[in-house]
Symmetry: C2
Subunit: 337 residues, 2 copies
Amino acid sequence: MNRPLSTRVVTFARRPNGMPDASCFSLESRPLPALGEGQVLVENHYLSLDPYIRMRMEAKDSYAPVMAIGETMVGRTVGQVVETRDAAVPVGSWVVGRLGWQDYSVGTKADVQFIHPDRAPISAYLGSLGSTGITAWIGLVHIAGVKQGESVLVSAASGAVGSVVGQLAKARGCRVVGIAGGARKCAVVRERFGFDDCVDYKAPDFTERLAEAAGSGFDVYFDNVGGPIFDATLPLMRLFGRIPLCGLVSQYNAAEPYGVRNLREVFNKRLTLRGFVLSDHRDVWDSATRELEQAYAEGRLVYEETVTDGLDNAAQAFISMLQGGNIGKQLVRIKAA
Amino acid sequence: MNRPLSTRVVTFARRPNGMPDASCFSLESRPLPALGEGQVLVENHYLSLDPYIRMRMEAKDSYAPVMAIGETMVGRTVGQVVETRDAAVPVGSWVVGRLGWQDYSVGTKADVQFIHPDRAPISAYLGSLGSTGITAWIGLVHIAGVKQGESVLVSAASGAVGSVVGQLAKARGCRVVGIAGGARKCAVVRERFGFDDCVDYKAPDFTERLAEAAGSGFDVYFDNVGGPIFDATLPLMRLFGRIPLCGLVSQYNAAEPYGVRNLREVFNKRLTLRGFVLSDHRDVWDSATRELEQAYAEGRLVYEETVTDGLDNAAQAFISMLQGGNIGKQLVRIKAA
């Protein structure tokens, strides 16, 4: 191929106050200088859009440092090495890494992990076989210590993480209830992902329906959303229940944080709440990936993707994802098919 | 002694709405029938008044069943066996147990534990060497897993549990900060209990002072209170901090529960919150008691008591304790000295 001399880049243009809009992003062109020793050039095929990116747009550090204005938007991509100055990463290698919202990225071996395009579609390594699948595994298995036959509740159940949580729990003989927004998503959660039940948080009788679905209560609540849904689940937990906190998507855009009123249940029921992020648990990534690849090979791990075409549509796709417009993993196809 | 034919009893007369008042309690006289096989009669010397009793007055079960109207008020006492129909519990034995607000109690061996009046004053076995000391040990050592040299924050620091938490943490080489209400209590926490610092939550600059006292943050927050103080501490926790929830005294009388707004910190800092009660952890009671008796013998465990005289003043003492009128363990001396 002809070596590209420049790349399109989406940069962080303005800090949002609440929900981001198009003016928070800028599409620019930047030169691609010659590679230094040990560097590789990756042509990005897919970009993953995830809620944590919204937190990096805050003015204040949360669990990760914030982005500076003018910086390339952070995000994981899957792509192919097209030029290399590291013999350990040959041209043609397929990799994933946090390579940013751009057509081409310069990185080193430390920035990427190799993937196996013969085992699954490359985009799956941004989702169910990649960071979101591993996140689901860590929360359910490592943090919550789910046991055979327990009752498990998952919010954002049609999302990239939630849908994997439910399938992993079902494979362990658990009863699994999801929470999702709207009848269409709930149908997907039940029919495609095989949850036992799914409750629509946008329905007026949400609280009553959730209490019905809870039966005698939940042993594990895998929380992806925080806020009022988190609050509503606390009274439905069983004694000694565990609540891994994987994110607070309902709160990322809230100007005023929601006040959680049912925390006394944590004491009454002797619950354990624990926040976690993927990067703290590298020691279990291999175990997680092996179980996920195995489940995929056996047809026990299905996933949905919402694919938006074109880097120039990435900002809009990100906003739509934050508003719940996606089912499953929200991706941007960067390289035209 | 002449066998008593009746006992005074404080019963639960009316369910409170918010802070209890005198009309919630009734002082009555009840006959003491002859003992059945296996029963013992205990003459109570001291009664322990604790915040959990307030929760048993609710209309709805919390972590323990509620009391029925007309029932004897629940509470732990220390006393002496004055009549027995169980050879394993001879007359003259000193015991503690949940024997209720009354002059004399009928129970069995299963209801009491023996104590050692030669090792410490009998009232200490209701406090620092009894259930409150063991509660402190369980939260700090067993639930939070405190480590040498960590930074520890304790609310209700002048209270029966909080004061022991601080002393156990100091003995482990931790830096210990307390939170208490008023300059007088804070002085006791620093000077008598040896905390490194104590912040007055009633002071107008509480939040600023707490942030100063936090330095680079807390590894453990032993929470006895919940509500706004709990909320204020969340942003001051260090990465991977642990928060044992021992009670929510600020919320027991709240008609409307406080909404906790800083829960996103649990995710951001990957904190662990865990509710616990004494009775779930009987397996570690002996370890806890040994360490507490040892610390007392070495003069490294001091405690304060607020003693109210007379069973007829128990209700008022209980209300005063709920309003923070006590320093250290709130006791009622039932048997006149």
